[in-house]
Symmetry: none
Subunit: 401 residues, 2 copies
Amino acid sequence: MDLHDVTRALHVRNDTKIVMFVADGLGGLPQEPGGPTELEAARTPNLNELARQGVQGLSIPVAPGISPGSGPGHLGLFGYDPLKNVIGRGALEATGIGLEMLDKDVAIRCNFCTLDQQGNILDRRAGRIPTEESALLAKRLREINVPGVEIFVEPVKEHRFVVVFRGDDLGGEVEDTDPQMTGVPPRAPRALNPASQRTADIASQFLAQARDLLADQTRANFHTMRGFAVKPALAPYEEVYGLRAAAIAVYPMYKGLARLVGMHIVGNAQTLEQQMEVLEQAWNDYDFFFLHFKYTDSTGEDGDFTGKVQRIEEFDASVPRVTDLNPDVLIITGDHSTPSYLKSHSWHPVPTLLVSDRCRTDSCESFSETEGSRGGLGQFEAKHLMTLALANAGRLEKYGA
Amino acid sequence: MDLHDVTRALHVRNDTKIVMFVADGLGGLPQEPGGPTELEAARTPNLNELARQGVQGLSIPVAPGISPGSGPGHLGLFGYDPLKNVIGRGALEATGIGLEMLDKDVAIRCNFCTLDQQGNILDRRAGRIPTEESALLAKRLREINVPGVEIFVEPVKEHRFVVVFRGDDLGGEVEDTDPQMTGVPPRAPRALNPASQRTADIASQFLAQARDLLADQTRANFHTMRGFAVKPALAPYEEVYGLRAAAIAVYPMYKGLARLVGMHIVGNAQTLEQQMEVLEQAWNDYDFFFLHFKYTDSTGEDGDFTGKVQRIEEFDASVPRVTDLNPDVLIITGDHSTPSYLKSHSWHPVPTLLVSDRCRTDSCESFSETEGSRGGLGQFEAKHLMTLALANAGRLEKYGA
């Protein structure tokens, strides 16, 4: 039995409310040996109060030493083993720009490229053509028509765009057409199994028409296709946990990831303040709320220690809006660490806090990496967090007699 | 995806150096309640300084409560799940005496035995015949000739020796011929699958010739064959980690284990001092160095608390030779515990230390079982250590986008 077999069998419904408040890239590192991390440097009276009430630990997003992207990081928090549930690159790209995939979709990442007169690739990124120019060309490709399939084309940034094929019998196992080098022609899309032959055929027709539509271009006169992917098969929250779940996020990527596990995307908040308003308004309609705060990650990625400290303080200041609603279980965590010192996602375990009247409180006095390492939750894989949430909400029956 | 699928996909190469310095059987226990362990009783100023700089924890060699042999203990440290990767007994015995196995080899542990006139086993160990006598008889068996296969016979200790068959189509699934009791004849070698039939046939011919060659003996007039095993299929370090790896060990067993995962055996050091010389000389030629120190285990096995303390101090004194080379990642650990109190390998988690400028330092002030239990690495399975090493060396890309 895997964890979802267990929660599927044992979950019960009640009127408790669970909030998972995620500060993206929360964990950090000292700027210099012996110094504080961003979280330790920040003034966080509300989080510290929760640390005294609840139980703290360090969550390992995927496995020790593995730095996750946003996809695996959030899958772990949502309780889906990120080593067993892999979101294909095309599906993640589509998700990231807010394209909602259906079960019969195949999503593909595309790059505009430059071909020479012999049809060999001169530039795999079409000179990193600016977004405005690229977007117009991507939209031009919406003219492409392949019988029996619905096609969506969406610009992304610079030379990148996404194509989605929607139709029956479309497998996702098709080889990239990008040869990863210049001086050779792009490859033909080749199916890696019989179930994906139709997808490869449609891609060939798409590429032929695209070549004509782009023939007048000097830079972006063709494109490659990479990361063919069907929608990942993730059992929905309602089924595995019995939770009506709401996601309150600002960025398309996180809305998309939440949608993939069956959460409802609620509101259209653009700020943390507005997210709290949406939370208050939706409070009676859902059992579980995923709240996502982006800027602790983006400041970390920028190497902006002070900026990250300020964003953590902003996050802390919003906590009373959540606690005023009296959730039965409140979880504060991050999907991974993003230390300003490294300017990137990292593998370091993430401070994680669970507050409920059924948790076994520890002696932690504040919320931090250092306190977390001696907290009552210990170090644990993030995928166990949802089971802990259900248990603390009285939503899981005994396993076995 | 398993851990090696991930590291195989994500590793990058750079010019960092990683050193894994293993004190065999490092972990210990107090001699009496309330007393220090061997590591805590030892004066270890260099290790304590590293403990202040790095991050410490306790590694679980296989799983809680499992006391590993040298094989599983080192497989864990090398990042190979010791419950999924099993080295057959014959292969481990061959490895332990320094026989280098090829992919088309089958190794077999053999015991001289005594048969009575009816051909029933009188003594399964031929009266524990002394090594000098046994070695001569084992070498006599080198006369055996079976067409189509190359045969190696190597003495071990007392009644034990190793036979290796080298040839095509030799499966390793052959039943032991030792019936594990006296008063009955040895069994014929029986193939457990069709792919091993040829091995069983060759073993039968080998045994028939051995019976003739040993006919003049009173004690060791025959032998049994046990633990038939092919070379274990372990993906090499270069492939799974992108590391050019060197092993600097004194004992054949540890050289053999390192060779099984694709490390190069460097130098021919007989002392720790000489191992350090080899390390210095090989420094520019490899990315990863496995340094093995045996005597913390052997003193533990002898129940010699004071001896183990001294060996730990000897180990500590050698640390500056390593740190003077400025490795980017330095790991100090053991393959298991060998408490003098138990005079044997044990299951107790092993103090483990990782030093790099990307680690998240904890507040540990010294290197010990007690400090390790509150360290920032927590308690973790040893198989995760290599992933942590790669991450801290900047040699792993992000998992997922």
